[in-house]
Symmetry: C2
Subunit: 371 residues, 2 copies
């Protein structure tokens, strides 16, 4: 297979993807959770089909554009995980004719526009901020939650969604545990608060809507991958877990061996006097993320069947420019290296690598070692 690769090429190890999805599906089953995976990481119709084969039938995406792409792939329950952009209401109304579409609401003003401008019932989640500090309603703000539900009229409140993005900044698994446990307490409080409000809210229709059964969803891959206590959580929407990457391995969300994508990078210059090689692989192909040690990836050897070795000791991606990568290698690796050889690079952040490779129009090769 390797001899067909002439330019930077993203290898996807199907058996690792299947293993990663299987593990997450098992975890969901074990805890009675709906798995509604986020498709922003792979953005691939084909990889989406592999995920579907594990019984998944509802998905999360980032944008209306991505929702349209996956609607075309036959997905019928799609949630756009970004506060609703009022400018997209016409497009959302149109797509809602074809699929069961859900959006995120974070304020009564936009909820009111949704109610007024889209007649066909769609679903929505109220996005909650439980400490990440990005988008969403503060999880303690019950009045604002009730105001959104009131303003959204007859659209269907499916529940609440929390993306604890700060688990990505955690130093280790223990810190992820702490963030997750804090969130579980906050969701328990929210649930009591909603029950109380269902009895006391002045508006009859709002009381009825508050009395229904809600979903409580979380989305961050680190918590979804590591936690075993989900309490009131009813669904999970991780994205990165299909491929994982070096950041997730660093957090303990996966092992390095679980990383299911690898960039095949052609060597274009060998610089023995400084133990370096230049490859055709820059931030265009890999993204600009860095590991805590400042490097941009780890180096592996590629095998003829498209699989790859464990990461080579002391071999790192030192620097990236637009399409050049500078690798720092050992004398051992360098002495058998020539221009035209291929090396593999494990990505720091798979989402960025996949997005960058989409823009180059380069080949994506599905490797299924052992098949």
């Amino acid at each position: 297979m390797l001899e067909n690769i002439t330019s930077p090429t993203l290898l996807v190890d199907q058996s690792k993807v299947n293993r990663n999805v299987q593990r997450m599906a098992d975890r969901a089953l074990r805890h009675n959770l709906t798995l509604r995976p986020h498709f922003k990481t792979h953005q691939s119709g084909e990889v989406g089909e592999w995920v579907r084969s594990f019984g998944v039938n509802s998905i999360t995406v980032t944008s209306l554009r991505m929702a349209r792409e996956f609607a075309q792939c036959g997905w019928e329950d799609i949630t756009i995980a970004m506060p609703l952009n009022p400018r997209e209401l016409p497009g959302i109304g149109e797509l809602a004719q074809q699929v069961y579409l859900s959006v995120f609401l974070v304020d009564p003003e936009t909820a009111g526009k949704l109610s007024k401008e889209i007649a066909k019932q769609i679903g929505y989640f109220i996005e909650l901020d439980a400490g990440y500090g990005r988008s969403g309603v503060k999880i303690e703000n019950l009045n604002l939650i009730a105001a959104i539900i009131e303003a959204a009229g007859n659209h269907h409140c499916r529940g609440f969604y929390v993306h604890s993005g700060h688990t990505y900044e955690a130093g280790d698994k223990q810190e992820i545990d702490q963030i997750h446990e804090g969130l579980m307490r906050k969701i328990a409080n929210l649930k009591s608060g909603l029950s109380r409000l269902a009895g006391t809210h002045p508006s009859g229709p709002v009381r009825t809507r508050l009395a229904q059964t809600f979903e409580f969803a979380i989305g961050d891959t680190p918590a979804c991958s590591t936690q075993e206590s989900f309490n009131h959580i009813t669904s999970i929407g991780p994205g990165n877990f299909v491929y994982y990457d070096l950041v997730q391995a660093g957090l303990g969300a996966c092992s390095t061996d679980d990383i299911a994508v690898c960039l095949a990078a052609p060597v274009v210059q060998v610089l023995p006097h400084k133990n370096q090689a230049i490859v055709h692989a820059g931030w265009v192909q890999l993204g600009k993320d860095r590991l805590p040690d400042g490097t941009h990836g780890r180096v592996v050897k590629l095998k003829e069947d498209g699989s790859w070795s464990a990461s080579l000791a002391d071999c790192v991606v030192l620097k990236l420019s637009q399409e050049h990568g500078t690798l720092q290698l050992t004398t051992e690796v360098l002495q058998e290296l020539s221009p035209g050889d291929l090396l593999g690079i494990l990505p720091v952040h798979a989402c960025a690598t996949v997005h960058g490779m989409r823009a180059t129009g380069e080949q994506l090769i599905i490797a299924a070692p052992g098949d």
Copy 2:
């Protein structure tokens, strides 16, 4: 025009592009330099035509893929500015049947393969490293230069190319001046060395080739934009100058008003309690680069004709995730802001913004204010 924008959209101000290209074309004319612009920044057939209208007829690209794209747009003199990847020799041979293709050589081994595997004469530049420390032959290494020329056989050595990428890390204009002046001295030495070698090299054909007139080319936008002394330099290959960005403005290579691209970002949440707003614009749309102050861009107001204001005081892009951006704004700007409004973002690094937007398949709108 703004009412047609529903999702993140890259605005290109054609009048600013024309002004930037005119200025660079004037500089080239003034110093008797060939302008061979690098098309990696815009990667657009349409913008390429604007550049062509200034009399440009030879261009630089990063990859064989990009060379193919611009060959399809009718460009006939294309240089691939990356050490030749031996795996691409068949593709290079094929494209060389249609256009005058030039490549970069950095070692005799690959030069020998080129000579052996491609019969039709193509051009090449020897890439030199004059202190950047990335790819290329060390500028002092005359023996290696001669060995490459010998190994490349009858292919046409057009000359030498230096990308002083370290000007991007310069603190200010004075540091760029120092790097450039150092380079001018090194090129003068190289030129004397080549003359000497043309008289003494043991191989007759190599002596003949060394006696010809060579191009001496530089590529970094900071030096190309700011220097007025080019000595032995005969051609310049800047890329970023068509659009410029906040990094270039910080280096003094342009003014903020020269920046010719701006991302129109829909506001999806307003957070008055912390003077922030969330926009649909993340690292997918903007790239992950940061300014020295750690922020990811500056905020402007968009005008109805697609142009934009000067950057708003104390309004910055604080954080980016995949498609969410967190803006830190002033109370003044916030008080008139609602979800569904558009704000403009000036990019830190235009090459990354343009590349990211290519992958989303979002609209690119050519704004030509005043036309």
